[in-house]
């Protein structure tokens, strides 16, 4: 699973920063059939959690209504230097994680 996280490298204390994450995943709906006419089973990233220095700041529970290669953009208050960690898992039991560092001045 390819993943891309975008957030500012530095921020001022108390600044609201934009966090973006895009994960490469088919988000298979379970309503499609393969060439042999066999249904393709549903497999979507059903949950994603973002923690900022260990504290949960955002969680998403997703279904087949989220597009393939899910993209999420949300916000958080930069209050300390450290890491934003992302954890997610799909219906097939595959899990992924990613982390990004941020330096907060002042």
């Amino acid at each position: 699973m390819n993943v891309r996280v975008q957030l500012p490298r530095t921020a001022k204390h108390g600044e609201v920063i934009e966090v973006r994450i895009a994960i490469q995943h088919p988000m298979e709906t379970g309503f499609r059939y393969d060439q042999m006419g066999k249904p393709i089973s549903k497999n979507v990233i059903n949950s994603l959690v973002c923690r900022y220095n260990g504290v949960e700041i955002f969680r998403a529970e997703m279904g087949s209504g989220i597009s393939a290669n899910p993209f999420l953009q949300f916000y958080t208050m930069a209050d300390a230097s450290g890491a934003l960690e992302f954890f997610w898992g799909d219906d097939a039991g595959d899990q992924g994680s990613e982390r990004a560092l941020i330096t907060v001045a002042g």
Binding site: V16, I17, T29, F31, R32, Y33, Y52, V55, E56, I57, F58, R59, A60, E61, M62, G63, S64, G65, I66, S67, A68, P70, F71, L72, Q73, F74, Y75, T76, M77, D79
Partner: protein, 152 residues
């Protein structure tokens, strides 16, 4: 000729003609197909309309990937913030698109994502605030090529 019976008959006819307008109006604010689901999400609590804004392009060419932004008017403080936002689709085979959980540390109650839409419809967002109240907003999207979610 103008017997009371005839008058009553005409007034009933007029009532019938006006009747279809009512469900249509209700559906606009609150799609009927979702009423039950919304009641389950809010555990029966009343949903106020307002404070929640759903932004989508008015016309989406491709239902497989429609950019969507949902924002809630909230100071996002420890005392007054958005707890969760649930996105609902009027026509998708699985009406719950996603649920987002925020907290006072979010700073700004806004989430952007891309959704699949099975045809032209309303997309509804229900937000729960820290005081337990529910607010909703919606957007109408015209989808040229639907995501064909149910393979029909």
């Amino acid at each position: 000729m103008n017997t009371p019976d005839r008058r009553r008959f005409i007034s009933v006819l007029a009532g019938l003609a006006a009747a279809p307008l009512w469900p249509a109006r209700v559906a606009l604010a609150y799609p009927e197909s979702l009423a039950l689901l919304i009641r389950r999400i809010t555990k029966g609590a009343a949903v106020n309309s307002g404070r929640v804004k759903v932004d989508t392009p008015r016309l989406a060419d491709n239902g497989h990937s429609v950019p969507l932004k949902v924002s809630v008017t909230s100071p996002m403080t420890a005392a007054d913030h958005v707890r969760s936002i649930t996105l609902l689709s009027e026509k998708n085979p699985r009406p719950v698109i996603a649920a987002f959980y925020l907290g006072p540390k979010a700073g700004r109650a806004e989430v952007v994502t891309r959704v699949r839409l099975n045809g032209s419809q309303h997309v509804i967002a229900i937000a729960q605030l820290s005081d337990g109240s529910y607010w909703s907003g919606s957007a109408e999207v015209e989808v040229t090529e639907s995501a064909c979610l149910d393979a029909s």
